[in-house]
Amino acid sequence: MNDGGAEIGNKHEHPNTKRKFGGDDFAQAIAKIAVAQICERVGFQTFQQSALGTLSDIAVQYIHHIGKTANFYANLAGRTKGNAFDILQGLEDLGPAQGFAGASDIDHCLASSGVVREIIKYVNEAQDSPFAYSIPCFPVVKEQNPTPSFFQIGEEPPDEHIPAWLPAFPDPQTYIQFPTENERAPDTHMKKNEPAKQQRKVERSLLNMQQRFACNGQEGPSSVNHGDISKEKFSAESNPFLSAPLHFKEKEVSSMVRPAKLSKEVTVKHPAADARAVSNHISVVETFAPAIEAMKNKLYDSEEEQTKVLLNQRPAVQFKIGVGKNRLGKPIQLDPLNQDCNKIAPWFGKDDEKDEKRRRAEKILKYSTENTQELAQM
């Protein structure tokens, strides 16, 4: 939208409106010029483009409305061609908004209508001011050359069900598909996608680096966290979840070779983690995933493979949280993990406990047997 105060000269150059209005833009441009001329005659010096557009639109609507009502009255009288009285009747119909002299008289002759008198008066008063430009006859109806039928060409239709009077088919090379086109299309597509792919690669490598950096950075504080849970202030700066794999390393479980299937899983997971890091959204299910995983593992008992799964899957989750900075999720997750650690620890000590119990039981048994002997002696 431009305010066309200073551009009266080139107001009929509207490259954008041509596409919008289709074929009617020429007529509308002429209407604008005509209305602008009338306004200038009335006394205006400049105008807002929108005001001129509105007024010219209304003028066009006015003409349209007169034509419609005149046509209606002509048809009402049983004629197809209109005459002056139809137009005058149409003008009278349009009049009531403002009113005209003699409108209250129903039986008046149309020729003596106030509308006519006002128009005559206007024509006599107004100076003759013809349109500024000479206009070619429009709309130009382009003479269309219909495609010749099979009969005109003198060809036989390719199939029996096609009658001869239908337009002939175009030349076969116009609609036969060449194989080269199919090869080209994906090429251009690839070219378009290449920069985006490269960018994505760079981004991924950056994120991987960040992830590694984060893992390395968390080692110290995480060990502190492992020692004392009460030091949560300290662990708030460093992410406590990163400590989880360290537990397992300390417990000497981490020495394993990743199975091919699982390593694939990890590689698949990383882009997902990237996406999550970008969106900064972590769903509840995702935040609890490690905990759920750990619970499952407990159920399966501490078999080597299960712990591997846990270890393999954890880094992705930890990285996600480290970048997403979801502080809320931390305390929730802290408990199950710690519980996990606490519960895992006894597993390794349990054997000793059992042994102790057994030893005690044996001792007692021995003692009792000795005692019975003693008792028997007594």
Binding site: I30, I38, T46, H65, D86, Q98
Partner: protein, 137 residues
């Protein structure tokens, strides 16, 4: 469409004569709205008549309508400007120009039964009609 030919035959003759004379005079009169435009829109509306005088009649009627609306808007503009000038005397030079604005036009059109809502947000700036050099951005 002769409603009252019995009542006043003399008057009817006068009116008829005036109308025919007027229509004949339209042959010499060239309205500002070009014939081609009017013919185009009349054809679009379904009205069909080869008579140039009727086309001119419609053109003249439309011209009269537009001129009336424009003069109404001009009065609105002048009234507004006189009110503004009293308030701000330093902006007299800018206000001297007569600008057809949507504000005045919508007021003028309301009288003739057209309800135009002014597009306040994007359509035109108040500095319209002033030389681009003197506009302050």
């Amino acid at each position: 469409m002769n409603h009252n030919n019995q009542q006043s035959s003399d008057g009817r003759h006068d009116d008829d004569a005036a109308l025919t004379e007027f229509l004949a005079s339209l042959m010499d009169y060239t309205p500002t709205i070009p014939d081609e435009l009017v013919e185009h829109y009349l054809a679009k509306s379904g009205f069909h008549c080869p008579d140039v005088r009727l086309t001119r009649l419609v053109a003249v009627a439309t011209q009269k309508f537009v001129a009336e609306v424009a003069s109404d808007a001009l009065q609105q503009c002048k009234a507004r400007q006189s009110a503004v000038v009293k308030d701000k005397r330093d902006k007299q030079q800018k206000d001297k120009r007569l600008i057809l604005t949507m504000e005045d036009l919508s007021k003028a059109l309301r009288e003739s039964g057209v309800n135009v809502k002014h597009q306040e947000y994007f359509a035109d700036s108040p500095s319209t009609g002033i030389d681009p050099a003197s506009r302050e951005e």
